[in-house]
């Protein structure tokens, strides 16, 4: 018996059938490829993949033609930090909740998916919340609106896990049980301080190493023919062992420079990598250290001051980290912000003077790299998934609106269609509200009888 490989087996359904079969050509567009500059021309999609991009392409007979004259085509936006489409976010009772995961609670019927599509988002990292020093596992989804759970998962995306530093994981440690005005049933929970958060992470990985050693010992001895009862399979430690083995990405919620450096030291000591630091509002202070560790940064453009640890922030954060060589993305952490990430990217032009391509990379190829899915998505290149957004104006303009969104070559959002269906949906709803109105009381409630 071997230790179980949960991360890879949980949703192993082959998903190649998601792709739109046949050929679609988007013509006459300004194509923002992100990695290969801007091209005026066409994108050719076959069976869900981009097969040609350029000013002059062969249009196969029978291809579906979409005329995008005067419009802008860019790769689907990728949000590296989201909590939509899940029916639970936090398992807040433990300081290490690595046995949980958003993969178990995905809700493919969350309207947030459709709204994300309307903002041009095609892929998102659905993270566990930040209540725990070591949180739960995440899943990466594509916004395949209308499909069931296995189908909306990004097949082949590397699994990940959430960590959290600072106020959120320690908040439950110092508060009296009814600090929230008497309504809270929360217990106090270790840790209560930042040094406690560090201790929780150290202890968890120390235990995870011991757990791994126990299995290694068991496997070695049974291989030699010894008769032994196998160790217990522990879902808390399985993901942590995967982190140690480099099979699971760490996405760590953080704000302050000191706690960021703490986490990087702990990771170096235990021999694993932090794939992304999330929020990382003080990342500009420690960009050099981030670069050295190889940690990416996924931050907000200009959202701060919502709590003490989020005050020492500047809108130049993304640009400064980028210029120091850190892989930077802009995320939403919000179903609302998610719908205009293109505008969030535009702010880096104003604050930090990034180029248009650099700005757009922060919501496309950079988050794709942070999620290890850049071989599939994040730019318009031959061979990549046909996850494509058509904007009516340049996506860095405040006035740009998403017109059409394709995932794997299949259209999941069409603004014209959406607008045309609104009236019918509205009247259907009004009709049903009328039908389901509670019947009037059977008996007259006194007063005069009708004549």
């Amino acid at each position: 018996m071997r230790r179980r490989e949960f991360a890879l087996s949980l949703f192993a359904a082959p998903l190649a059938l998601q792709a739109q079969q046949g050929v679609t050509v988007i013509q006459n567009a300004k194509i923002l490829t992100i990695t290969k500059g801007t091209i005026e021309g066409s994108v050719v999609i076959r069976d869900g993949k981009i097969v040609d991009v350029g000013a002059n392409v062969m249009v196969p007979p029978g291809a579906k033609i979409i005329d995008a004259a005067g419009q802008f085509v860019m790769p689907g936006i990728i949000d590296c930090h989201s909590h939509i489409a899940t029916e639970a976010v936090n398992e807040g009772t433990l300081s290490v909740s690595s046995m949980t995961g958003t993969g178990d609670t995905v809700n493919p019927e969350d309207i947030g998916i459709y709204r994300a599509l309307a903002g041009g988002v095609t892929t998102a990292n659905i993270l566990h919340g930040s209540a725990n020093a070591i949180g739960g596992k995440n899943v990466v989804i594509k916004m395949r609106w209308g499909k069931d759970t296995p189908e909306i998962l990004f097949d082949g995306a590397k699994p990940g896990i959430k960590f959290a530093l600072g106020e959120n994981p320690k908040r439950r440690g110092g508060a009296p049980p009814n600090f929230a005005g008497g309504a809270s049933t929360s217990r106090q929970r270790y840790p209560a301080t930042r040094m406690g958060v560090e201790d929780v992470i150290r202890e968890a990985f120390t235990d995870a190493k011991a757990y791994k050693a126990k299995w290694d010992d068991y496997n070695a001895r049974t291989a030699k023919g010894e008769r032994l009862i196998p160790p217990r399979c522990d879902l808390k430690f399985e993901p942590l062992v995967e982190v140690l083995e480099g099979k699971r990405l760490v996405h760590a919620h953080c704000y302050r420079a000191d706690e960021i450096l703490m986490l990087l030291r702990v990771a170096d000591e235990f021999g694993f990598k932090i794939k992304t630091l999330q929020h990382v509002l003080e990342g500009y202070k420690v960009a050099k250290e981030l670069k050295e560790h190889g940690a990416g940064a996924s931050t907000f453009s200009d959202w701060w001051s919502y709590k003490m640890e989020a005050y020492d922030a500047i809108p130049y954060n993304a640009a400064l980290m980028h210029k120091k060589g850190v892989l930077v993305s802009l995320n939403s952490d919000s179903g609302e912000l998610m719908r205009h990430l293109n505008q969030e990217a535009a702010k880096t032009l104003r604050y930090g003077g990034l180029t248009e391509d650099e700005a757009l990379a922060m919501i496309t190829i950079n988050p794709a790299r942070q999620l290890d899915i850049d071989n599939r998505v994040g730019s318009i290149e031959v061979g990549k998934d046909a996850d494509i957004v058509i904007f009516d104006k340049h996506p860095l303009s405040n006035f740009a609106k998403v017109q059409k969104v394709f995932i794997d070559g299949r259209m999941y959002f069409d603004r014209d269609q959406d607008m045309s269906e609104r009236e019918a949906k509205k009247s259907k709803r009004e009709k049903m509200i009328e039908q389901q109105k509670p019947a009037a009381p059977a008996r007259p409630q006194g007063g005069r009888r009708p004549v």
Binding site: R4, T86, E87, A88, V89, N90, E91, G92, T93, L94, S95, V96, S97, M99, T100, G101, T102, D104, T105, V106, N107, P108, E109, H128, G136, D148, T149, P150, G173, P176, P177, S184, T185, S186, R187, Q188, R189, Y190, V200, E203, A204, R227, L228, I229, P230, R232, C233, D234, L235, K236, K425, K428, R429, M432, I433, Q435, Q436, P438, A439
Partner: protein
């Protein structure tokens, strides 16, 4: 006084002959087509004969069945009737007795009012919180519970009753709805393990849906490990560490099947995947969105228990609040779910979810019939299919010779509004519902 009613009924029934024959009645056996002018003989608690040309035994107490309709006694497939004294969660955690928590570990919060700092190794899955899998409904049945009388008056003769508090609430038992002692009432036990995964609170693990799912998954891994360790040790204990006894896992392993919650389509799809992952026989309960989820269930070969309380607008809802199209649709379409399940060949049974007035049960079932479910399928969902789902169709669920004498007799076809339950037989004992029991005002749980 009314607490003695069941007792008085029982005495009255036992004073009669232990052979009863109903003749010239319309018999709906559920296992086959209706029999006009048929005869049913019940002897010593068992069905002796049923058919069109049956001789009435000389020693039988005879009921003239002219105008009467004879059905198998109704079965409530997920119930709490008779469990008025079901225990709450056992005090504190560690109830499972397994997992090796060091002695002297701090007591859990929830015990008393003093909050405790929780230690990292406290309160995790290994402490078996919210798990009373060893509790058996059969041990909790209260024969004098008043709900037994009201349910029986509505035509129910058997309920599959479950403890329902906690994540692993405990083992259900099939219980006949009459008897002086609990032991006489139990038809079969254990019938299945009731599992819930809803989010609870933030005071103890698991507090969320994702925590509960992870916890259930860990429990099944632990149970598998426990079983393997015990088997190895039993085979040859020499040189092996002795596996610690764990009553929570014993209960899990004892369950012939588990019940997983799935009302919405999202939950049906989720629990279909999860149930398969647990590698244990399972059935789904809820199925409010069966009208949308039937496609997922088609061919899955997983039985479904359908809640007869159709969704309705909260009576206290703000009259000006506008519900979403999805909510409105769910309310309108929910009763068509059973028809969709029948069409897709999914085995399903109804559960009354506390509705114990004949008129309320009938109104709810008729909504499904009006939405396309055949009367035969509706009847089976309250009789034979419920028995089949719990592996009890060899003894209850239909009127066939040799089965337990559980019978409902109405004075018109059951689906007609004017039909009243005239007689109920439980284990061959005759009960006559008091007429006023049905004339009462509708309860708050009515489904209009």
């Amino acid at each position: 006084m009314s607490r003695y009613l069941p007792f008085l009924f029982a005495v009255a029934a036992w004073a009669q002959s232990n052979v009863v024959a109903v003749r010239n009645a319309t018999i709906h056996p559920a296992s086959g087509p209706a029999i006009e002018n048929g005869t049913l003989v019940v002897r010593n608690g068992l069905i002796e004969a049923v058919g069109a040309s049956i001789n009435v035994p000389a020693d039988a107490w005879v009921i003239d069945g002219k105008g009467l309709h004879v059905y198998p006694g109704l079965i409530d497939s997920l119930s709490k009737w008779g469990l008025s004294a079901a225990p709450a969660e056992p005090p504190g955690r560690g109830g499972g007795g397994g997992g090796g928590r060091p002695s002297g570990a701090p007591p859990s919060a929830g015990e008393g009012s003093t909050p405790n700092i929780q230690f990292l190794d406290d309160g995790g899955p290994e402490d078996r919180p919210s798990n009373t899998s060893w509790v058996k409904a059969a041990d909790l049945v209260q024969p004098a519970d008043r709900s037994i009388v009201s349910a029986r008056n509505a035509g129910f003769t058997t309920a599959i009753v479950f403890p329902t508090s906690g994540i692993f609430a405990g083992q259900g038992s099939a219980v006949n709805l009459a008897g002086e002692r609990a032991g006489d009432m139990v038809v079969s036990s254990p019938a299945g393990l009731y599992i819930s995964v809803s989010s609870r609170n933030f005071s103890a693990f698991p507090g969320s849906l994702m925590g509960s799912i992870a916890y259930v998954r860990q429990i099944y891994l632990d149970a598998e490990h426990y079983k393997q360790a015990k088997a190895m040790y039993a085979q040859n204990p020499r040189g092996l560490q002795r596996p610690a006894y764990d009553r929570a896992l014993e209960g899990v392993l004892e369950a012939p099947r588990i019940l997983l919650p799935a009302s919405r389509k999202v939950e049906v799809d989720r629990m279909l995947r999860f149930g398969k992952e647990l590698k244990t026989p399972f059935i789904l309960y809820g199925a409010t969105e069966a009208w949308r989820a039937a496609g997922s269930l088609k061919g899955a070969n997983i039985p479904v228990l359908v809640n007869l309380r159709w969704p309705e607008r909260d009576r206290d809802a703000d009259p000006d609040a506008k519900d979403s199209l999805r909510t409105l649709e769910t309310r309108e379409m929910a009763p068509s779910g059973p028809a969709a399940l029948a069409k897709d060949g999914v085995t399903f049974a109804f559960y009354a979810s506390g509705l114990d007035r004949a008129a309320d049960v009938k109104r709810a079932v008729k909504k499904a019939v009006e939405a396309g479910l055949s009367k035969d399928d509706a009847l089976r969902a309250m009789t034979l299919n419920a028995a089949k789902i719990f592996g009890l169709d060899d003894r209850i669920g239909s009127l066939e010779a040799g089965k337990i004498g559980n019978v409902m007799i109405t004075d018109a076809e059951w689906f007609e509004d004017r039909a009243r339950v005239k007689f109920v037989f439980v284990d061959g004992k005759k009960f006559e519902p008091a007429p006023e029991a049905e004339a009462a005002k509708p309860t708050a749980g009515r489904t209009e």
